[in-house]
Amino acid sequence: MTASEIVLSFCREAIGGGLLGALTGWIALRVLKGQRDPHIDLLTSLALATGTFSIANQLGMSGAIAVVVAGPCFGTSYSHSIFDEASRKDLDVAWTLIDEVLNVLLFMLIGFEILEIKPHVFAVLATLAIIPLSIVCAP
């Protein structure tokens, strides 16, 4: 693998993902223009999050970067002219709930993953080393 291939791959992953996210975010805002139904807003934002991620993965781009660029499109000053206060509040409440529920599920799965780990000296030592490292690295 040459240096130019690495640069090209990086550009495709990062810049391509960012452009794709901005494009899908802009399309979502254009679609939402001219209606005041909070349910349609929520459905469109769900479609935007999952759709952007899978399109970016299909095209070999970074889905994470695309979603992170598409998300703030809903926080721009342009979007304030599209959502009124009530639907903005509904949207925030719904996404806070999704965030919270997924976090709880993921942390519970992490707790159960310990059943899958084979006890091994190196794994135990690495786990013990994490604790002082995370204390040192914390701001």
Binding site: S45, L48, A49, T50, T52, F53, S54, N57, G63, A64, V67, V68, V69, A70, G71, P72, F74, G75, T76, S77, L91, D92, W95, T96, I98, D99, E100, L102, N103, V104, L105, L106, F107, M108, L109, I110, G111, F112, E113, I114, L115, E116
Partner: protein, 121 residues
């Protein structure tokens, strides 16, 4: 006891949601710490208990059941391909672009297009 491999999606989801709801209620009545941390602690304790109880109760083989459930969920794939998109979007949607731009510009430019009360939010 049926193995987790042939459970359908809704049963897996029901099992996970029931456990997490139970753990968070338990947290509310005992520890009262943030839900994510308490759920992690309770699930760690549950897995440790399963590991200890498993040799005592060889008939129902809880550990193999939980392992097949975990294999059916496949945490790395579920995390990286499913939940990550929603989690990142939820985090990114709370960002106020205007105030972030004002914060970034404040290092070079003294004035910006944002209102001051938006910056302080």
């Amino acid at each position: 006891m049926s193995s987790g491999g042939d459970m359908d999606t809704i049963s897996l989801l029901a099992l996970l949601l029931t456990l997490s709801a139970g753990f968070s209620i338990l947290n509310h009545h005992t520890l009262r710490i943030p839900v994510t941390i308490s759920v992690l602690i309770f699930s760690l304790l549950t897995s440790l208990m399963v590991m200890i109880l498993n040799p005592l109760l060889p008939a129902c083989n809880l550990q193999a059941f939980l392992r097949s459930v975990l294999g059916a969920i496949n945490l790395p794939a579920a995390l990286l391909n499913g939940a990550l998109s929603l989690l990142l979007f939820a985090g990114a949607m709370q960002v106020k672009v205007c105030s972030t731009m004002a914060w970034a510009l404040s290092f070079s430019v003294s004035r910006s297009g944002c209102q001051p009360e938006e910056v302080t939010k």
